[in-house]
Amino acid sequence: MAGRGESAATAPGATSGRRAHPAAPWMPDRWRTVAPARTVLGVIHNVTSATRLLDLLTVFDGDPRVQVLFTCTGSSPFEPGIEEFVRARELPLISWDEARGHAFDLAVSTSRGGDLQNLSAPIIGSPHGAGYNKTLHREPGAGSREPGAGSREPGAGSREPGAGSREPGAGSIRAYR
């Protein structure tokens, strides 16, 4: 299990001023009721991508070998609504710092926003809308490149994998709903 024992010496609760989720792979085993063999990280960007993420993660329904944890990249300007979304669905949430500081067996992301390159996990990237239909309008000095954004979200500071001309299908393949 990639996640366990590879912690970057992050003390539980040291980030974001709160205790890490007890199901996090680096937390003590005795806190677990079920002992999953793998930990999957669901990467939430905003409510749009989160709804699709939950659709995809139904592939793990019924499998106690897999624990899913969620994190928010904090990179979308459309964050309002995420907190309610997470709370209403009781998603086991860890902070982005915690997510970056540990290894996971798999990360699933339905958006290319955020510092995904900082994650230590094989990432499966999926569109959150019907395929890829939007053009990429690059502007010099750009911050975040929201997949699917017509002319990019104004959110700054985040980079998207595939930014620039090597974006999958750059100039023609963009994800959005």
Partner: protein, 442 residues
């Protein structure tokens, strides 16, 4: 890619054509790409057999049509750049015949705040708009339940086309849509909402023409090239990445959950003011008088855009707070006040309706003449207010002493209503204690 280093271990695609575009734009990524299909399209297809359940949960009544308005986010979205179409849909489509539901992109919803979106759309919600929260799956249920859509360049337009729903584009941001993409194809194929032609006619044309369009049929197949397989293929990919044996149980798309029941009736105790457009048509084969009736919510009607109505009468409930309708009401439905009081309060009113049971009502004219009307065939839409509008058309056509049976058509697909009318003595005793017919509850 990030700084020349490919970040993802796998890139999931929904259609083979995307791989061709990926090969052009980013050949290095092609080996990482997996065409799995589209789990959302699969779920919508798996939900379609339950269309009638979704319609019922959304409050769509027998014979009604459901129009889905879909908006992505941004200034060029339906909501951002063509929001007048929301008002037009509610103003121009007869309210007994149509329900309208809006599926708003979460970035638009949460970007302004759900409260704000509801506040902005409140006049339309009062006029009957169904406005579900976008974080739920209600939009998928609505997509299954709908008869037609008005959309933009958002994904829901593709899903609508993918499930064979006829529709029109209210806005379309050509600039942000990639040339050669399925969305660009749809943009070239779908008609645009005409700014002045009646919307009902435009929808009827779409419903008539689009099911046979080979171009749209082709475009609808661009949503997924692995129909029904997305979750199974995605699971295989995930478990391979996890180095874990895949469960033996099959993974199949399940139907979308039923939306939380939206009250099919109104939330306000007040029945919204309507413009009722009624006219007497040729007698039916049974020799009955026939009335064609279309009712439109008053609130969204715009001045100078009333060609969808011929000669409407304003019908209000007693207690209507909006002076625009209260002051010009032709017909007032009593909530207990005597007709004399209501005639005094509403100067333009010529008919007061006093409901006496679910199926019957007493109708008073300003000159004191009275009629008793009873629905002998009472479909869900047949209320005392509708009886008043039908009777008004009959009296205008046949004269104030008319009585008899009238077949009422409130919409092409709506069940027929039959109303039995006879004159009652002017200023007779209260309806509650008179004619035993009137007391019949249905």
């Amino acid at each position: 890619m990030h700084d020349s280093e490919l970040i993802p271990a796998a890139i999931v695609l929904s259609h083979d054509e995307q791989r061709a575009r990926l090969r052009q734009g980013c050949p290095q990524a092609v080996p990482l790409s997996h065409v799995v299909g589209d789990p959302c399209m699969d779920q919508i297809q798996a939900s379609l057999p339950f269309r009638s359940e979704y319609r019922a949960a959304l409050g769509v009544r027998p014979g009604q049509r459901l129009l889905l308005l879909t908006s992505t986010w941004g200034r060029r979205s339906l909501l951002g750049g063509a929001a007048d179409v929301v008002g037009r849909a509610l103003a121009e489509l007869p309210r007994d015949e149509f329900r309208v539901v809006a599926a708003i992109h979460p970035n638009a919803w949460y970007g302004h705040g759900g409260w704000q979106i509801r506040s902005w759309l409140e006049p339309y919600v009062r006029a009957g708009l169904i406005l579900p929260e976008p974080a739920t799956d209600t939009w998928k249920a609505a997509l299954c339940a709908a008869d037609a859509f008005l959309g933009d360049h958002g994904s829901l337009t593709l899903y609508a086309a993918g499930r064979g729903l006829p529709g029109l584009l209210a806005s379309f941001d050509e600039e942000s849509v990639a040339a050669g993409s399925p969305m660009a194809r749809l943009g070239a194929l779908l008609p645009r909402v005409h700014p002045s032609a009646p919307l009902a006619g435009q929808l009827a044309a779409a419903l008539r023409d689009q099911p046979d369009s080979p171009g749209l049929a082709d475009a609808s197949r661009l949503v997924t090239s692995r129909p029904g397989q997305a979750l199974a293929r995605l699971r295989r990919l995930c478990y391979r990445t996890l180095d874990l044996a895949e469960p033996t149980r099959p993974v199949v798309p399940h139907p979308v959950h039923l939306p939380p029941p939206v009250a099919s009736g109104r939330q306000s105790p007040l029945d919204q003011a309507v413009f009722a457009d009624a006219r007497v048509a040729a007698r039916d084969p049974a020799g009955r008088a026939t009335v064609l009736l279309r009712r439109y919510p008053a609130e969204p009607q715009a001045r100078g855009r009333r060609t969808h109505m011929r000669d409407p009468q304003v019908v209000v409930d007693e207690g209507e707070p909006d002076p625009r309708w209260a002051n010009v009401a032709d017909v007032v439905v009593s909530r207990g006040s005597r007709s004399e009081e209501l005639f005094a309060r509403h100067a333009g009113c010529w008919m007061v309706v006093e409901p006496t049971s679910h199926a019957a009502c007493r109708l008073r004219l300003r000159d004191g003449a009275g009629h008793i009307a009873r629905w002998t065939t009472r479909p869900w839409w047949a209320t005392p207010a509708v009886a008043a509008s039908a009777l008004g058309a009959c009296l205008a056509h046949f004269g104030d002493d008319w009585e008899g049976e009238v077949a009422v058509h409130a919409g092409d697909e709506l069940p027929l209503g039959v109303l039995l009318v006879h004159q009652s003595a002017p200023h007779g005793p209260a309806a509650h204690t008179t004619d035993p017919d009137v007391q019949i509850e249905y």
